[in-house]
């Protein structure tokens, strides 16, 4: 009896005592981006888990090298074909893998396999059957991040969950509208370059140029008209190019558009310091507004326009941009109007404020054009 007791006890102590917890459990990371009938993404699996699943350590020395991982790609891919099944309503997707890479995470090095899948028809619903390591480590889970139609969802795959089903809801028109409206407002607020361009054109709107000097406009009417013209021209111009770019009619390299946007700010600001165009600044607003539109479009390209709600999202985004822009105009211009007759405004804000804007824009220009 006594021996029997002692037999187990060395072991008992290893289990009890203070609570042990260190590593996170085994996770695979699956990222999928759905586009029509196609999926692109990657799966990430700890090398140790890869070894457990298919045996990567060819020379059995207890170490998996990069050479061994590359050599083990075929069995690995075959294993994944059997344990990661994607399907749409029309049937299973055909999975293909690109050459393996690696990624470092806290608990060790992970293998990183880019994948693509062709699912036959446009995906409205995605079925994922994730059974990686189900026999070897039931606590293994797949952490999924799924991007579809401009929305991201996450889920935990594996375990006893079985096949999981994901609705790739075409974003409802209203939610898309709100989301893109917000993105538009946010972009104009965070993309200070567009605002500075507009402000450079609006600063002189409350003044008139007479005998090489800035003088205050005597009444609100002309100032108001100036502002409306500039803002409308800018809006019209960037709406045109934004739409063209969003629907892929025209594409310009972002380095070019970003550099020219910076240049446009320099020109608009310098025009306040050394006035060349004093009447009809709306023409500058229109001409360069065309380029700013391409700048806005780059944000949309990053977000992607949701299928089925492309037009409404585009309109919403544009409306958001206008809203943000108008808010700034409404906040700044009454103040400018009130201050227009002061020396501070005519001799301070106009030349020095504009110079500061030009300097900042020059810095952007150099950064964007040369780096």
């Amino acid at each position: 009896m006594n021996t029997l007791r002692n037999l187990g006890l060395a072991f008992v102590l290893l289990l009890a005592g203070p609570l042990a917890h260190a590593h996170i459990a085994s996770n695979g990371f699956l990222t999928l981006r759905v586009d029509g009938s196609k999926i692109a993404g990657a799966i990430e699996l700890a090398i140790r888990d890869g070894e457990l699943a298919v045996g990567l350590d060819r020379d059995s020395n207890g170490k998996v090298t990069w050479g061994e991982l590359k050599a083990g790609q075929t069995p690995l891919q075959n294993y994944l074909q059997g344990h990661l099944r994607l399907a749409g309503a029309d049937g299973p997707c055909r999975l293909k893998f690109a050459p393996v890479e690696v990624n470092d995470r806290v608990d060790g090095t992970y293998l990183w396999l880019p994948l693509t899948a062709e699912c036959g028809g446009t995906l409205k619903r995605l079925f994922i059957d994730y059974t990686l390591l189900d026999a070897e480590d039931p606590s293994h889970r797949g952490l999924l991040t799924l991007f579809a139609n401009g929305a991201a969802q996450t889920a935990v795959l594996g375990g006893s969950a079985g096949t999981r089903q994901f609705e790739l809801n075409h974003a409802s028109a209203w939610s898309a509208f709100v989301e893109y409206l917000r993105a538009g407002i946010w972009h104009i607020w965070s993309g200070i370059d567009h605002l500075l361009f507009l402000l450079s054109l609006l600063l002189p709107a409350v003044l008139v140029r007479r005998q090489n000097r800035w003088e205050a406009v005597p009444i609100a009417g002309p100032a108001f008209l100036n502002i409306v013209k500039v803002v409308s021209a800018f809006t019209l111009a960037h709406s045109i190019t934004l739409s063209l770019a969003a629907f892929d009619v025209i594409r310009l390299p972002s380095r070019l558009t970003e550099s020219v946007i910076a240049a446009s700010i320099i020109i608009a600001a310098l025009n306040n310091v050394f006035p060349r165009i004093t009447e009809g600044r709306w023409r500058i607003a229109f001409a360069f507004g065309l380029l700013h539109g391409f700048g806005f479009a780059s944000v949309l390209t990053e977000m992607g326009l949701p299928k089925g709600a492309r037009l409404i999202s585009l309109v919403a985004f544009n409306l958001g941009v206008e809203t943000g822009q108008l808010a700034v105009v409404l906040a700044v211009m009454p103040l400018a109007y009130l201050l227009r007759a002061t020396r501070f405004y005519r001799r301070g804000v106009m030349p020095w404020g504009s110079s500061a804007i030009a300097c900042l824009a020059l810095f952007w220009f150099l950064q964007r054009a040369l780096l």
């Binding site: 590593h23 350590d57 050479g67 806290v106 935990v156």
Partner: protein, 394 residues
């Protein structure tokens, strides 16, 4: 009453905000992302015995033979305990799976299953499994000891004491003393429990038993404020089991408390792959303004985010400390510490909660923990130092 309402509101929102913070928030240093190694001979991972593909035959054998399954599961659980790797618990689970479903299940299998659950902080599940194990075999020392451990973590000391009593009748006196005295150290008899554990001679003990003794003594000494003695116990334990990350973490906490951040980095060098140790490294780096902080922070963020997505609760206490001591987010930290307190009642859980509540300017929020401490007569100089009320009561 108002305080209570505030707390529940904090609790409702904290998970979302924490998720947002961890996943999106202020990633000053991004992890590098995938790359192609330059050298074919670069070692990407080491795979230890029992985790190789070639071990598949043993695992297959275990499916049909319980005399293979039990030792193999024990081996995996030992490995997880030794090197703190939760993956081994998964391997043990795989080996046990067919035997847990068997009716009626064997007590050994159930005790192992309960151990797995305890290690994953699934405490109620673990207790339920232990009940089943003890129903099959009421005199099972292993099940009784795990039961005592789980109940102790939950702060249910009288029940833990009962399990210890039963355990004591089945095992040698030294183990009985360890179970009982370490519990007495928590419910009002710290000084005398510490004294009597020191009296116990460790001669002839197994290394695993000595290691348990030293880590208990070290933690008791910390709570007594006898820092030099604590350091000696921790060092003794580390000499005995250098891979014991648990005691290494406790030792690092002692050093952090004494402002010995540079020594913490030396103590934990090369142990960055264990999250609790990486947390201590990050805290030390922050105090030293070490440039390595960005990377440590990004890695902790990534692993806590993964844990959060999985819905695991293994590192709640660490999350609260990370939020407070690395990210300077006292409100979120307080919410995490409160959430942790609803589950665990260890001295370090009290400490984290009091610390977070003070930092958040809401010391009242730590009331449940302080009431628990008072009711149990628990003494801990670290808590007292942070809370004048407790200090005055002493």
């Amino acid at each position: 009453m108002r305080c209570r309402r505030n707390q529940s509101r904090i609790l409702r929102g904290w998970l979302l905000r924490l998720a947002a913070l961890l996943i999106a928030g202020g990633t000053s240093v991004a992890l590098a992302g995938p790359y192609v190694p330059a050298d074919d001979n670069e070692v990407l991972a080491e795979v230890s015995a029992g985790t190789r593909y070639s071990d598949v035959s043993a695992r297959r054998l275990a499916r049909g033979r319980i005399d293979v399954a039990i030792p193999l599961a024990e081996f995996y659980i030992q490995q997880s305990r030794l090197n703190g790797d939760l993956r081994f618990l998964g391997y043990a689970e795989a080996v046990l799976a067919p035997w847990v479903k068997q009716t009626p299940p064997k007590a050994d299998v159930l005790a192992l299953q309960a151990t797995l659950q305890q290690s994953r902080h699934e405490f109620s599940a673990s207790l339920a499994t232990l009940d089943r194990a003890l129903a099959v075999r009421p005199q099972d020392p292993q099940a009784l000891l795990i039961r005592a451990t789980v109940l102790r973590v939950l702060g249910r000391y009288p029940e833990a004491g009962a399990a210890c009593e039963q355990f004591s009748r089945l095992v040698e006196p030294r183990l009985a003393a360890l179970c009982i005295e370490s519990l007495r150290g928590l419910n009002g008899h710290l000084e005398s429990a510490y004294a009597s554990l020191i009296q116990v001679s460790a001669q002839g003990w197994l290394n695993s038993e000595k290691s348990w003794l030293y880590s208990e003594l070290g933690e008791m000494a910390v709570r007594l404020g006898r820092e030099q003695e604590a350091e000696r116990w921790f060092q003794q334990d580390l000499r005995l089991s250098p891979t014991d990350f648990y005691v290494r973490a406790a030792y690092a906490d002692l050093m952090l408390q004494q402002g010995r951040s540079a020594e913490v980095l030396a103590l934990l060098a090369g142990q960055e792959s264990l999250e609790p140790l990486l947390l201590r490294i990050a805290i030390a780096q922050k105090q030293l303004r070490d440039p390595g902080l960005g990377l440590s922070c990004a890695r902790l963020r990534a692993s806590f985010a993964a844990e959060l997505q999985r819905g695991d609760a293994v590192h709640r206490r660490e999350q609260a400390r990370f939020l407070l001591e690395v990210l300077n987010q006292p409100d979120l930290s307080l919410a995490a510490a409160l959430e942790n307190w609803t589950v665990q009642h260890e001295p370090d859980d009290v400490l984290v909660l009091v610390h977070a509540a003070n930092a958040a300017g809401n010391p009242q929020a730590a009331r449940p923990a302080l009431e628990f401490v008072r009711a149990q007569g628990q003494s801990d100089v670290r808590v007292a130092a942070m809370n004048p009320e407790i200090a005055a009561a002493r």
